[in-house]
Symmetry: C2
Subunit: 478 residues, 2 copies
C-alpha cells in the first residue's frame, strides 16, 4: 500500500495512475482496455449512485433495465447515431454455438433499444411523459484507455425520457443538467462550467447537447456529464407517435442524459495530492480513522483508548475505522490512510490518553488540532464540513486562477503550448475554426457557457477574426 | 392495464405470463430471449438488492466490478467449467471494426476473470479471506426462455471469496446459503428447502453445490439460489497460491454464490392469484393505495378526504399512493391496483367521509375492515405484518400439503403424471438412477435436504431398490 507516488510536478499522468492503483481503486484487467473496479473504488461509485439515484427519483424518474445486446440494424436507423458509434462497437457474431443471422452489438448507449420499446409503450398523451433511467454497463472500443477516464467497458446511468412537446423535452434536458451540476458541486466538491456543446461536439443523434465541464489540477478540462435534447430524431427513426390531447398524431420528443464511472477519475484528479487520494467527506466510505500510537509498555491501554474513541464516533453516526494493527508502525499507518484519502485522522497516544484528548489531522491541509475527548465527535463533524467546503473552494480557485479572457491567437497558442487553462474567447460559429484550433493546439470548445450567454459578444473570433457570435470556453481536455 | 388474466386452473404458464406483462413487470425485447425489466419489476429488484446487499455487507463482504468480457481461453482452464458453459456462450469476435485475435465471451458467470485477478491480489495469508460480491448482468444463451425465470441475459449478484483453509471456505458456503434462505423466507415470504445438490446437478467447477428450493403453486420446484464450495479448483486452474502462516505455499480455497432476477419469478409464482400480482409487504414498492369513491356531486370533497388520508399515512412512514384520477371508475381502479399487487387498498367514499373512517381491503384475502380515521396508519401497519405472515404460511401449507413420503416407484410415476409435488424418498446415490427418473418423469433431485440429513435412511432407492444412501427430495422444476 505505502508505495511511492510519482509527484504531480514530475509526471501528472503517472501520478494519477499511481493513485488509482496504490489506493486500490482499480486495476488493469487481462482484457484490453477493461478495468477492474476494486472495493475501495466501487465504494465511491456506490456513494455516487446512492445520491444521484435519489435525485433522479425526486425528479420523477423510475429505474428500469433494457437488454445489453442490440440488433446491429437498430443502430443504423438513426443516421448520425450509427456514424458516431460504428467505429467503437463490440459485436457478438456467435451465440449458443451457432453463427447469428444478425450480429448483435453490445450497447454503446441505449437509445435505439429503448426507443424500440417506447414504440410499444406509447400510444397516447396519457402515456407521457415517460421518465426512465437505467444503471448499466456499456462498451465502446477505445484505442487509448486510462483507468476510470476512458475504458472500453464502463458503468454509467443513462436517462431516457419521452415527452409530448418540444418545450417539455427541452426543459427536462436542462433540468437534468442542473441535477448533475448540483450533485458534482455539492457532493464531489468540483466546480462546474455548464453550457451548450457546439455542433461538432454534440452527441451523435442529438439536436442539442449540454455538458458540465470541470478543470483538473493540470488545467485540462474533463467532461463530467452530458444531457441531450434529441428532438424527434429517435421517435422518427423508430416511428414512435402518440395521439395528442387534440386527437392529432405527432412524433414523441426525447431526451437522454448520462454520467459514468469517469466521475471517479474527475474526483481523483481534482482533489488528490502527492500523498495520495483525497475524498470529499460527503462521498467518503470512511470519514475518519483512529490510530493509536503505541509505546512498548502500554499497547493494551492505548489500544483500548483508541477503540473507545472509535466507538464514540460511530455512536455519533460517523463512518469510522479504528486501525489497531500492532505489527505496523504509526508512520506507516499515517501514510497508508493518507493514501486512501480518509478525510480526518485521529491520533491517540499515551500522552493523549493521560490528558483525555486526541489529535485530529485534516487530510486536505495537514492541520493538527488537539481536542478534548468529549468534543471529538462534534469537532470531527465540523472538520468534515470544513474539508468539503475547502476542497470546493480550492478547486474553484484553481479554475479562476487558470481561466483567461483572450482575444489574441498568438497568446492563445502560447498558453496552450505552456501551462494551458480555460480560455474565454469569442467564436464565429464555424466548425472549420474549431477544427483548425484543435489541429494547431489540441484545444477544443468545451462548451458555450450559460454564464456568458447574455454577455454581448464584442470581440472577433479567436481564430479567424470574423465577428464573434458566441462566447466559448476553450481548453485541452481528457 | 385491466386486461383479463388467464386463470391458473386453465393454463398456469399463461397465467404467469399474463401477470408479468399486465402488471408491467417485464416485456419481451426485440432480442431473442432477452427481456426488458419495466419500472414496476425493477422496483422489486431494487428492494431485493437493498436488503440482500445490506446482509452481504453485514457478513463482511465488499462490492467490486469485474469486466463483462472474458478471453475465451480463460474458460478452458477449468475442465468442468468450460464443459458446462460452452454451449451457452455469446462470443464477441469483432471489436472496433477489427476481427479480434482472441474471441471474448460475455460472462456467463465470473469465476475465471475474478480468479485471474485474485492471482495478482493474493500473496499471503494476510490477504485472506478476500470477500467480494458483484452485482452484474450475465448472458447464457438459452434455447427456451421465460420472462424472469430463464432469460438469455439476466441480472444477478455473484459472491466470490478466497480463503486460507478448506474448513473456512466450507463455512462461508453454508453461511451464504443461510443468508439467502433467511432473506427469501423473511422478505419474500417463500418457505425454503435447503440442502446439497447431487453431483449431476452441481455447478460446473464446484466440489459441492448447495441450493435453496421453493415450491410454486403448480407444485413444481424453483431453484432460488445456489452456493458453491469450489475447493481449490479455480485456484489451481489460475495458479493462485499464498504463503501460509507457517511459511509454506498452498493453493487458495474458494466459494461462489449467486441469486438473480429469477427471484422475481419465484415471488410472482408463489403468491399471486387470478386477479394479478401479490407482493409481500416487506418488498412492496407501494404498501397501500388510497382510492376515493366519487359521487358526481362531491368529487372535490372526497378527493380532498382521500388525499388527507394518504398524507397521514406517508407522514407515518408508509409508502402510499393516492389515486385521484377522476376519469376512471372505482371498480376499474380496484382491478388495476389488485393487478399490480399493492398489499392494502383503502377506499374512501362519501359515507366514510361522514363517519370519518375508511374501508381497508387486504390484497391477500380480500377481507374488508372499517377503520376509524385516526386508527388507519396503525391498522395498515398491522395489516402489512399480517399479510406478510399469511403469505408465508399459505405458501408453507401449499408445500406441506404437496410433499409426500413415497417408496413405490409406481406411486411416484403416478404422482408426477398427475398433480406433481415434492417427494421425499430414499436414493441409492447413483447418477444412473437420477437420469432414469428424469427420463421417465422429468423429475429431478432438487437437493438432499439438510433437514433429513440425520434421519436414518431405512428405505430402498425409489428407482432401483438398492439400499438407500440419502434422503432426497424429487420434483419437476423450472
Amino acid at each position: 500500500m505505502a508505495e511511492k507516488i510519482t509527484p504531480r510536478s514530475t509526471d501528472y499522468s503517472q501520478w494519477y495512475i499511481d493513485i488509482v492503483t496504490n489506493a486500490k481503486l482499480a486495476d488493469y484487467s487481462p482484457v484490453k482496455g477493461c478495468m477492474v473496479i476494486r472495493p475501495r473504488g466501487y465504494a465511491l461509485w456506490e456513494n455516487i449512485q446512492k445520491v444521484m439515484d435519489a435525485k433522479f427519483k425526486a425528479t420523477g424518474h423510475s429505474n428500469a433495465y433494457f437488454p445489453l445486446l442490440i440488433p446491429e440494424s437498430f443502430l443504423k436507423k438513426e443516421a448520425e447515431h450509427v456514424e458516431g458509434f460504428s467505429p467503437e462497437l463490440a459485436v457478438v457474431t456467435i451465440a449458443g454455438g451457432e453463427k447469428l443471422e444478425e450480429p448483435l452489438v453490445i450497447r454503446p448507449t441505449s437509445e435505439t433499444i429503448i426507443w424500440s420499446m417506447y414504440k410499444k409503450w406509447i400510444q397516447s398523451y396519457r402515456d407521457l411523459p415517460l421518465l426512465i433511467n437505467q444503471w448499466a454497463n456499456v462498451v465502446r472500443w477505445e484505442k487509448r484507455t486510462r483507468l476510470f477516464l476512458r475504458t472500453t467497458e464502463f458503468l454509467w446511468q443513462e436517462g431516457h425520457t419521452a415527452h409530448a412537446t418540444s418545450a417539455e423535452a427541452h426543459e427536462e434536458t436542462l433540468k437534468m443538467l442542473q441535477v448533475y451540476k448540483s450533485f458534482v458541486e455539492e457532493y464531489m466538491a468540483i466546480p462546474i462550467l455548464d453550457g451548450e456543446k457546439t455542433a461538432s461536439e454534440k452527441f451523435a443523434g442529438a439536436v442539442t447537447t449540454y455538458s458540465i465541464e470541470a478543470m483538473m489540477q493540470d488545467r485540462k478540462a474533463l467532461q463530467a456529464g452530458t444531457s441531450h435534447d434529441l428532438g424527434q430524431n429517435f421517435a422518427k427513426a423508430f416511428d414512435v407517435t402518440f395521439q395528442t390531447k387534440e386527437g392529432t398524431l405527432d412524433h414523441v420528443w426525447a431526451t437522454s442524459w448520462g454520467t459514468s464511472t469517469r466521475l471517479i477519475g474527475a474526483l481523483i484528479m481534482t482533489h488528490s495530492d502527492d500523498k495520495g487520494l483525497v475524498v470529499p467527506p460527503k462521498l467518503a466510505p470512511t470519514e475518519a480513522v483512529v490510530i493509536p500510537i503505541f509505546r512498548k509498555d502500554n499497547v493494551a491501554e492505548v489500544s483500548a483508548y483508541a477503540k473507545a474513541i472509535g466507538d464514540e464516533l460511530r455512536a455519533a453516526g460517523l463512518k469510522v475505522e479504528t486501525d489497531l494493527d500492532e505489527t505496523a508502525s504509526s508512520g506507516w499507518k499515517f501514510a497508508e490512510w493518507e493514501m486512501v484519502g480518509v478525510p480526518v485522522r485521529i491520533e491517540a497516544g499515551p500522552k493523549d490518553m493521560e490528558k483525555n484528548q486526541a489529535v485530529l489531522v485534516r487530510r486536505d491541509t495537514g492541520e493538527k488540532l488537539f481536542v478534548a475527548r468529549e468534543e471529538i465527535p462534534a469537532k470531527v463533524k465540523e472538520l468534515l464540513e470544513a474539508i468539503q467546503k475547502n476542497l470546493f473552494e480550492r478547486a474553484l480557485k484553481n479554475r479562476q486562477d487558470n481561466t483567461f479572457q483572450l482575444d489574441s491567437w498568438a497568446d492563445f497558442v502560447k498558453l496552450m503550448e505552456g501551462d494551458g487553462g480555460f480560455v474565454e474567447a469569442a467564436w464565429c460559429g464555424s466548425a472549420q475554426c474549431e477544427a483548425e484550433v484543435k489541429e494547431a493546439t489540441k484545444a477544443t470548445i468545451r462548451n458555450l457557457p450559460f454564464a456568458l450567454k447574455d454577455k454581448p459578444v464584442n470581440k472577433p473570433c479567436l481564430k479567424c477574426g470574423a465577428p464573434g457570435q458566441h462566447w466559448a470556453v476553450w481548453a485541452k481536455s481528457y
